[in-house]
Symmetry: C2
Subunit: 454 residues, 2 copies
């Protein structure tokens, strides 16, 4: 079939769950036992080369089926469209999905339905980048500023960022991009690692992993805090001793506190020189973050992995509530909304240090930071992408970390494609792993139900 006439012929979904809770990987003060999961989709086309776009929402277990159902609700908007049309203007797809007035009622632009939009939009970008034969960061860095501005929905953010602002930022961002591209290939993009700091780890494991993070070239590590203050003091002391004074140590409360608690707890850990306090309180509390920031300086305030959309990020910036903006590739409405968020951050001069980890979030978000470095903010100063060494083996183009830096991906696409073998093994509840696991349990019960009842 002629590529020009190729169409999307199916939107297939997969409920993929990894049994990570058994190792306490990913445990924190709010999330004691996550089963890292992906509500995964493939846009299949009838192109001769089997071109397909992949995307997903990261979840932590129960409810992954709700997220899959939400992705399926978007199917009529996509299936039947030509690949040409989708790839020429992902922004039109984004506006079409976000603007479905009946589905919009379920948000608007937040939670399950908005993340579903993000996954489909990201799959369209994966398709577009594969079709152009470029990694997504490169596609974005090569794009004309005018076209990129057309990819952004300025609704509800125009009071902080106009189209003219965006165009000026992108035009300025192009200066020197060839040199930065060479630099990116030479050294990569700085990373920090959360691997030592999960709450469920022993002090011995924490110390060992913190030392090896420094030895591996990471200039920043992160510790989970917020469950028990005495314990946090011990853990921060051990971590600081392990890494020495020259390495940054961030702490992360995963929304555990009220405003007053956040201030007291952070200040009680100040002697260990934390670089930032992450998610000190609800991601919805803009004014709360602003109050906390004033009270814990010089410790920086960071948030974003649960910030629902560009409108909340806009206000966090307007209110001077954050020092560090932690966008997430799969929380908001996809690449288009993240372009808006990167532009807002550039306008306000706030560094972006993306959230990653989970399933495939490192793979996705590196493209956004690398585009930002090459063609928007133009700097990696005080910027790091989170890195966690989990589950990369399930991806066709896994991230490559060298000397504490993300290596620039070169394979076409958004690095979103999971191995077929992983999809069939970890599909819930009928994939090989889960079928075997469930059959081995007393009565073969659904583990989700069992854990809730326990």
């Amino acid at each position: 079939m002629d590529t020009t006439a190729a169409r999307v012929v199916a939107l297939d979904t997969y409920d993929i769950r990894f049994p990570t809770s058994r190792e306490l990987d990913g445990s924190d003060a709010m999330n004691p036992d996550p089963d890292y999961s992906a509500a995964y989709l493939i846009l299949r086309t009838d192109a001769a080369d089997d071109l397909a776009g992949h995307g997903f929402v990261f979840t932590i277990g129960r409810g992954n089926e709700v997220q899959v159902t939400a992705i399926e609700a978007l199917r009529p908007h996509i299936v039947g469209r030509t690949v040409d049309e989708l790839c020429a203007d992902p922004g039109a797809v984004s506006r079409d999905l976000t603007g479905d007035s009946q589905l919009r009622w379920l948000g608007p632009e937040k939670g399950v339905m908005h993340m579903a939009v993000g996954a489909v939009v990201n799959a369209v970008w994966d398709l577009a980048a594969k079709r152009q034969g470029k990694p997504l960061w490169q596609l974005l860095a090569d794009a004309e500023p005018e076209w990129l501005v057309g990819q952004v929905d300025f609704r509800y953010i125009a009071d902080a960022l106009s189209e003219q602002d965006a165009l000026a930022l992108l035009r300025h961002g192009r200066d020197g991009r060839q040199a930065r591209r060479r630099q990116l290939f030479a050294t990569g993009y700085p990373a920090y690692t959360t691997s030592p700091g999960w709450l469920g780890y022993s002090e011995e494991k924490l110390t060992r992993l913190a030392k090896s993070a420094v030895a591996d070239g990471f200039a920043q590590i992160k510790l989970k805090v917020g469950a028990d203050l005495d314990e946090d003091i011990r853990r921060c002391r051990a971590a600081r001793a392990a890494i020495g004074p020259g390495v940054r140590m961030a702490i992360d409360a995963n929304q555990r506190w009220n405003v007053d608690e956040a201030v007291r707890w952070t200040n009680a850990l100040a002697e260990f020189d934390p670089y930032w306090i992450e998610e000190p309180t609800s991601p919805d509390d803009i004014l709360g973050h602003a109050a906390i920031r004033t009270a814990v300086a010089p410790v920086k305030v960071a948030t974003g992995e649960h910030v629902q959309n560009r409108i909340v990020f806009k206000q966090l910036l307007q209110a001077g509530a954050i020092d560090v903006l932690q966008l997430d590739a799969a929380r908001v409405g996809g690449v288009n909304e993240n372009l808006a968020i990167l532009l807002l951050a550039a306008k306000f001069g706030v560094p972006v240090c993306p959230h990653a980890g989970g399933v495939g979030l490192c793979e996705l978000v590196q493209h956004l930071s690398m585009f930002d470095y090459v063609a928007l903010s133009g700097t990696t100063e005080d910027r790091v992408i989170e890195y966690v060494d989990h589950l990369h083996e399930h991806f066709v183009d896994p991230v490559v970390i060298r000397n504490g830096h993300y290596t620039a991906p070169t394979a076409p696409g958004f690095s979103a494609t999971m191995l077929t073998r992983s999809l069939t093994t970890y599909a819930y509840p009928h994939g090989e792993f889960w079928a075997t696991d469930l059959a081995a349990r007393p009565g073969g019960v659904d583990p989700t139900a069992e854990e809730v009842a326990a």
Copy 2:
């Protein structure tokens, strides 16, 4: 079976959709063709009297199946519990559902998953009120302040409302409640009506319905605006002429505008003396509402039907962003979170004028306003509950409006129970109405898919 030992034996769900888009009922600038729907649930018990708790999320059509799936994800938390335990402390149920760490990732506390929590929590309150043989407003008004405070989750709002604040407000609210209860039974609770103002209606229909609203005793009407300014000027002029200067006329933009647009458009309609401008911009934009409020005074700013939780309401109040708080019975996490919101409004002295209409929202929310009047704020001054004359015929205990006022319900429960006949007729897609309707279409296609493609 002994009532004391009765348990919840099933959580049954229903995807109920009414074909309202065919009449343009409910049309506004953001929602041109809603099919009013309910993701409905019944908590069935093995009590001898067939005691059951009913709850639902209101949606406007497509995606109702996503909402149903989300409700089903909560089933393991509820089924098997004793009725005694659930009814003794709905707050514990609320915290349990909201606190499921894996499901929490899908929000947190917003969108599809949070509305699902709200529907289940509301069904538990329906169960509790039926069991006590009281309408819910009466159960709440009779409850001890200490118990009510225990029903509220102060997480993320304690900086604006402490437990001590709440207790003081509730103790003060009890003074004179017997007299207010008598007053409530005598005159009812003031209502306003949106029935004349849907965007799809002709000027003739608008004028006729506005006049008959005044004749029916309503002291306030509401018009949808925001699609076309010249048209809005014509419609506002016609409505003001129809109702005269002494009746309040609110206008509602359903989030159509950016901040600057909201200011310009509202001020362009100021000559018609609008009482409030509702949803001038995104419900997430706290700072935007504050800016709009300053710029459009003395026109009041109102929002809330899409405000996701108590944390955003807290900030709208802290920032002085709204004059009128429009809580919704089925948008947030149920009665418990609405208690928090009523308490916040009382603390800040902002009147609550609930959003209603849709499917069953009038039935639910009257209980919250009546409790507020009898035992919390103690006043109906500048307070009105929205009223729309749609779909009440599907409820066992429909609202009763007399002389522009909601009559106090007396039947036990939360007025949430739909007629079994309505459930079987409008279940999508296999209920009698939809099965017939779909069969009559060319090819018997799914109407949802067809409308999206059109």
